[in-house]
């Protein structure tokens, strides 16, 4: 050891040492959590002024528990838990394995909500959340988590869903608060327009929409169609497994210019989804009484994994031009970090702490 390590005042029995460790701790309080049908993502602020988002797929795959499989999973660093005598592979790895073995993953959430019938999966979801979110920096740290809005086309039960996750996060030591998913998108993407405009989150289970005026949500709703709906229909027309359809869709299709039958199917359902959302948005706008009067044309921002496909915004603009939208729109654009938007918006809310 060298004495260079000790500099400054004398060392005695009361001197406290700080042991350097590799796990960095963030002094910045507040965390954002996006609990999505397809992905769970947690956002924190980093010391260098950036944001770090930890993500895991919200999916599992059961495989038979035997010593060989277990060793194999351990060696390949595939996350698993042993549950009810089964090996349950968690997250992205489950999705990948399912694709290789041509099986379906288990998805504990459907259309944006935890399904009451799959409470079996709760311990696993908790593990994933814990892995992404980590422990609170200090007890009672704010954690804002996303919840979907009431759906126009499905009988959804947000109360149960929200209560469950609130409880889970409290139990983990957080001061948990729910925030509407599309409202979170407004928080993360519409700062330049003073948080005025329309935030859209095209997720796996649904599309969430929020009309906001200076951070205040005037209207929120959701439709129970999203990436999963596209996958389901593509799988149906092509006669393939859903996870296969997901794979095709995520493999870089350009929906303006589909190259084969499969891509054609993806493009058709994308267009349909976008059109469906727009019709509903226009209708709600036309019907809404509490709608603010916007002094200037507004922005529409699209985010969420489903917007990641090539040509999304172009097709969106295309479909937008076809309908008679009730208010003037200045700009339609895709969030730069479409997959992080919701988690980041939750983080903004948590940091502001309202």
């Amino acid at each position: 050891m060298t004495h260079d390590d000790f500099e400054g005042d004398k060392v005695d029995a009361s001197t406290e040492f700080c042991i350097e460790s590799s796990t960095e701790t963030s002094k910045l309080l507040g965390k954002g959590l996006d609990i999505g049908t397809a992905n769970i993502a947690a956002a924190i602020q980093t010391d260098d002024g950036g944001v770090a988002v930890s993500v895991e797929r919200n999916a599992f795959l059961d495989i038979k528990a035997d010593v060989y499989s277990k060793n194999m999973l351990t060696k390949l660093k595939v996350p698993y838990v042993v549950h009810n005598g089964n090996l349950v592979v968690l997250g992205q790895a489950a999705f990948e394995l399912a694709n290789i073995f041509s099986r379906e993953t288990r998805r504990p959430m459907c259309d944006g909500l935890i399904s009451p019938s799959d409470t079996d999966a709760l311990p696993m979801i908790k593990l994933i959340i814990q892995k992404c979110l980590g422990d609170p920096v200090e007890p009672g740290e704010n954690c804002y988590f996303s919840v979907p809005a009431e759906s126009l086309d499905a009988d959804n039960n947000v109360v149960y869903h929200q209560g469950l996750f609130e409880g889970l996060l409290r139990k983990m030591g957080y001061n948990a608060k729910a925030i509407n998913e599309a409202h979170a998108v407004v928080f993360s993407e519409l700062a330049d327009s003073d948080f005025t405009g329309i935030g859209l989150s095209f997720g796996g289970g649904m599309v969430n929409a929020c009309v906001s005026y200076k951070t205040i949500p005037a209207l929120s709703f959701s439709v129970a169609r999203g990436g999963d709906w596209i996958d389901k229909n593509v799988a149906q027309v092509l006669g393939i497994k859903r996870s296969k359809a997901t794979h095709i869709k995520e493999q870089g299709v350009d929906i303006r210019d589909p190259k084969n039958r499969e891509e054609e199917a993806v493009a058709i359902y994308y267009r349909n989804l976008i059109h469906y959302l727009m019709e509903n948005l226009a209708m709600r706008f036309a019907a809404g009484q509490d709608m603010p009067t916007f002094p200037d044309p507004i922005d529409i921002v699209c985010s969420g994994g489903t917007t990641m496909v090539k040509g999304f915004i172009e097709v969106f603009q295309d479909e937008f031009a076809k309908i008679d939208f009730p208010i003037p729109v200045r700009r339609i654009f895709r969030a730069e970090e479409a997959l992080n938007s919701v988690a980041k918006g939750c983080l903004v809310a948590a940091a502001i702490g309202e």
């Binding site: 350097e20 956002a43 002024g49 770090a52 983990m172 993360s188 200076k214």
Partner: protein, 374 residues
């Protein structure tokens, strides 16, 4: 020497605190030392202590060292073996990938071959058309028919798929419902009780209605009879008036008028006596029928709304448990938390995907400005 796990001890005996907490206690700076260095210090100290104490002879120390070397070698070999196996698995997976790729490639080739064959066929057909238009027309028609049949088949398949989807959804719903069943049962029974009661009430009402209908029918017949009488009397009267030559006795006229008045009274009384169902309108049967149907409508509505309620509750099992029994959430959450803690898992040794993103300082500043400025 026994393995001295200094790092583990450090972890166990040290505590983590925040910089703010230290600052609060007046610390402006802290000394920093690497855990590895602490371990090294301890190791050296122990070795020296043993040496000085003379408790262990130099030979014994040598022996321990030799032992340690053997152990180290063993571990090294094991590691190497492990690594070899991992490499093997990796190379196998690479092989697998390339096989899959090859097959995909083959598939594509086959597809393009097929495409080409089709093209050739089309060309052949086109050529033929120059030679024998009739035959080609026949072929075309046949082709069209085949195409139709195919479309039909495809439609059928799509329909079947939809049906299958429906089945799946139904199966899922059934599952949810059956799970909700326990909680629903009490409510359901209550509703059934109510339903039964309303069924009884309905039966009573129906009896009454039937009786009323009978009475109404009888009365109507009587009214009709009387009406006919009145009508015929009116005709008689008119005829009599039109024949002045016959010089009818004024008495006769007034008698007939009296009779008519009496009949009118009777009709009136009958109408009144008949009660509500007939009171509103003269064509009693129609009124009664309308009334029956409205009653039935009402009952149907009651039954329907009960059905709907029950069904809705089945679908919304979550809501009922969420709204009625908040305790349920807690127990569910607790169970999930407990379960997850006792589960065997390697998740602590696995990394999740981390994405770096742009900061949110601008957003926060903007919100603060908005709030500040009203």
């Amino acid at each position: 020497m026994e393995n001295l796990d200094v790092l583990a001890s450090l972890e166990a005996k040290s505590r983590t605190t925040t910089v703010e907490a230290l600052a609060k206690r007046g610390k402006k700076s802290v000394r920093v030392i690497r855990a590895a260095d602490v371990a090294l210090m301890v190791q050296e100290a122990v070795e020296r202590a043993i040496e000085i104490s003379g408790l262990i002879s130099p030979e014994a120390i040598e022996e321990v060292k030799a032992q340690a070397n053997i152990e180290f070698d063993r571990l090294k070999t094991e590691r190497a073996e492990e690594q070899r196996r991992i490499d093997e698995i990796e190379s196998r997976s690479v092989e697998l990938e390339s096989t899959i790729e090859q097959q995909a490639h083959q598939l594509q080739q086959r597809t393009s071959e097929l495409e080409e064959a089709r093209h050739r066929l089309a060309q052949a057909l086109a050529k033929q058309s120059e030679i024998d238009p009739e035959e080609v027309e026949g072929l075309r028609q046949e082709n069209a028919q085949l195409q139709d049949a195919r479309t039909e088949l495809e439609q059928e398949i799509t329909a079947m798929r939809e049906q299958l989807g429906l089945f799946e959804t139904q199966a899922l719903e059934l599952r949810i419902q059956s799970e909700a069943f326990e909680e629903l049962r009490a409510e359901h029974r209550l509703q059934l009780g109510r339903l039964e009661q309303s069924e009884v009430e309905r039966a009573g009402l129906a009896d009454k209605l039937e009786a009323a209908e009978h009475a109404s029918a009888a009365l109507n017949t009587r009214v009709e009879q009387l009406s006919t009488q009145v009508a015929s009397l009116q005709t008689e009267l008119a005829t009599a008036k039109a024949q002045p030559a016959a010089a009818p006795a004024p008495a006769a006229d007034s008698t007939q008028a009296l009779l008519m008045m009496r009949l009118m009274d009777e009709i009136h009384a009958l109408k009144q006596g008949h009660g509500a169902p007939v009171a509103q309108a003269a064509p009693a049967p129609v009124a009664a029928a309308a009334d029956t149907s409205s009653l039935e409508d009402k009952l149907a509505k009651i039954v329907g709304s009960l059905d709907q309620k029950i069904e809705k509750m089945g679908k919304k099992m979550g809501v009922s448990s969420a709204v009625d029994t908040e305790v349920d959430f807690k127990s569910l959450v607790n169970r999930a938390v407990d379960d997850s803690q006792s589960l065997e898992s390697n998740i602590d040794n696995v990394e999740v995907e981390k994405r770096a993103g742009a900061g949110i300082a601008a957003n926060l500043a903007r919100i603060k400005k908005l709030k500040g400025g009203g």
